[in-house]
């Protein structure tokens, strides 16, 4: 399968700071690549750089169908949904049609082709409304409809479901998946939601501080983080250092997998000694932060009733719930860079 969109040695610099540096990225025709990363990692910057949008200083090449492409070619191929829904003055219908209108499609035709998308995103009944009176989620839906109506070869989505209510989100995930399967569209999806990545993306890239730290099939990336930063990103936020585990490698675990108890039960798994720093009751469960000899561990789960700060406790994790990390060596930071094209699912 060939690469639909990609880049080589892509660097974005603003005021002397390098915001992004991607050596190599390729996304195959029909594939969906999820990009996960902490706030400020450069996800939106990457999306804009790929579409050759915006005013930052960008060097390197963007590839479309394998050959370098300038802003003109990119603009013809791409439709982007920015992080904030940016609508024009005018009605919802006019906004939904704007993508096609901006590509030179006639007014009537553009409206005819975009209205079904408004319906698909559940805002068809708002057609005559002034776009500036929409609620946050409604505006986000209109922005999505506008981009999809274009039926672009490359779809760039920046946290497209952020403002949507949970139920719609679940439904849309399924709908969008079905739609994308039917279109010849390559999608790059920026998201903070691992479930979204899992549901939609064949492959996932973890972006940290402007660098792709890990890239591969979504299931693998989400379950087998390569280093500490990646682990943090996919929910393995507790780092268990050799100093406290006695193991050779650094281990990572999810807070949900860590149990706190006042006595040490010998058994399978890992046990770390520490003292309670704070206890935060969080509705469905309690979060207990435990200070250990090497950092603080967060434990999330039911129980934790008898605990108060200062109490000596043991944190236990089952062997199946820990992940072994490669050493967090900056030199290895780009180790996850892809050797070959991200494949369509």
């Amino acid at each position: 399968m060939t690469s639909r969109i990609g880049c080589r040695d892509l660097r974005v610099v603003a005021r002397g700071r390098e915001l992004l540096h991607v050596d190599r990225l390729d996304v195959a025709a029909g594939a969906v690549l999820a990009v996960l990363g902490p706030n400020g990692a450069g996800k939106s910057t990457l999306l804009r750089a790929l579409a050759r949008l915006g005013r930052h200083h960008v060097t390197g090449e963007v590839l479309l169908d394998g050959s370098p492409a300038g802003p003109r070619e990119m603009r013809r191929a791409v439709a982007a949904v920015l992080q904030r829904p940016i609508l024009r003055r005018g009605t919802v219908t006019a906004n939904a049609a704007a993508g096609l209108r901006l590509r030179g499609v006639g007014r009537a035709d553009a409206v005819r082709r975009s209205v079904p998308w408004l319906d698909a995103f559940g805002v068809g009944h708002l057609g005559e409304r002034d776009a500036r009176t929409l609620s946050g989620g409604e505006a986000q839906r209109v922005a999505l409809a506008r981009a999809l109506a274009v039926a672009p070869r490359v779809l760039l989505l920046d946290e497209p479901f952020a403002g949507l209510d949970a139920t719609t989100r679940t439904d849309l995930l399924a709908d969008l998946r079905a739609v994308l399967d039917g279109l010849d569209t390559t999608t790059v999806l920026v998201t903070h939601d691992r479930h979204e990545a899992r549901a939609l993306a064949t492959d996932t890239a973890l972006l940290v501080a402007g660098r792709i730290r890990q890239l591969g099939p979504t299931e693998h990336v989400l379950d087998r983080p390569a280093d500490a930063a990646c682990a943090r990103l996919v929910g393995y936020t507790n780092l268990l250092l050799p100093a406290v585990t006695g193991r050779l490698a650094v281990l990572a675990a999810r807070p949900e997998a860590c149990r706190v108890s006042t006595e040490h039960h010998d058994g399978d798994g890992i046990a770390v000694m520490g003292t309670v720093r704070r206890v935060v009751p969080l509705g469905g469960g309690t979060r207990v932060d435990v200070d250990t000899a090497a950092g603080t561990l967060a434990c999330l789960g039911p129980g934790g009733e008898g605990l108060e700060p200062g109490r000596a406790v043991v944190v236990t994790v089952a062997e199946a719930d820990v992940r072994v990390l490669v050493e967090d060596d900056p030199a290895l930071a780009t180790c996850g860079d892809p050797a070959d094209v991200v494949h369509s699912g």
Partner: protein
């Protein structure tokens, strides 16, 4: 105070009575000032947009010049253009002095800084991501800019009105480069000045009122054009 009332009555009489000279003067005024405004827009809109959207060398200088240029005294512009167009001047060969063309040139010079400064201010106020989003939907640079102008249509309208208002109401340059020749370069403002110097104050007021009607009509047309694809007020 009766002078003002007389002026109003006279304005109505002149227009409705079909006074040919008045209609000719009114027509010439519109033609000259609209042409000058359009020329100023052709030069000023791209420059103003460039000042707002790009960061070329000398951007600040252009902006400062435009802001300062809004204080360009018409009399001095008139003098300047006159000196250029004098027979002995560099452009004397064209014989443009005391023609409507000369007036258009002078008024375009007056209007251009106004357009540049106000367009820059208007465009600068639009969400910086607006252009990005439009291009991200596949718009060419031109179409994206058109969308941007549509978005900033209210302040752009105000800019156009400010420029048109400035030139249609000024008299210094019109007088000096046009010469206020009856039937050739006499416009409403110079006619009003003449009426004043003749002591016919009511007539002067009448010309002023006709001028305001013109400004209102232009404003109306611009507003209607601007609201063609507009939305209910917020």
């Amino acid at each position: 105070m009766d002078v003002l009332l007389d002026g109003f009555v006279q304005a109505v009489q002149l227009l409705l009575g079909g006074d040919a000279a008045t209609w000719a003067i009114t027509g010439l005024t519109l033609r000259i000032s609209l042409t000058a405004t359009v020329i100023a827009a052709i030069v000023g809109v791209p420059l103003g947009a460039a000042v707002a959207l790009t960061s070329f060398r000398g951007r600040r200088v252009v902006l400062a010049a435009a802001n300062t240029g809004m204080g360009l005294p018409p009399v001095v512009v008139g003098l300047f253009v006159t000196v250029l167009l004098w027979r002995s001047g560099p452009l004397g060969a064209f014989g443009l002095l005391y023609t409507p063309t000369a007036m258009i040139i002078a008024q375009a010079v007056i209007a251009t800084p106004i357009v540049v400064a106000l367009v820059a201010a208007a465009v600068q106020q639009v969400d910086p991501d607006f252009l990005v989003q439009m291009q991200g939907l596949g718009a060419t640079r031109g179409r994206a800019l058109a969308a941007l102008f549509g978005e900033a249509r209210l302040p752009l309208l105000a800019a156009a009105m400010a420029a048109f208002g400035a030139v249609v109401s000024e008299v210094g340059a019109a007088q000096m480069v046009g010469g206020n020749l009856a039937g050739e370069t006499r416009v409403l403002t110079t006619a009003a000045v003449l009426a004043t110097s003749r002591g016919e104050f009511a007539l002067a007021i009448a010309f002023g009122l006709i001028l305001l009607m013109i400004a209102f009509a232009v404003n109306l047309v611009l507003t209607l054009v601007g609201q063609r694809q507009a939305v209910p007020s917020r």
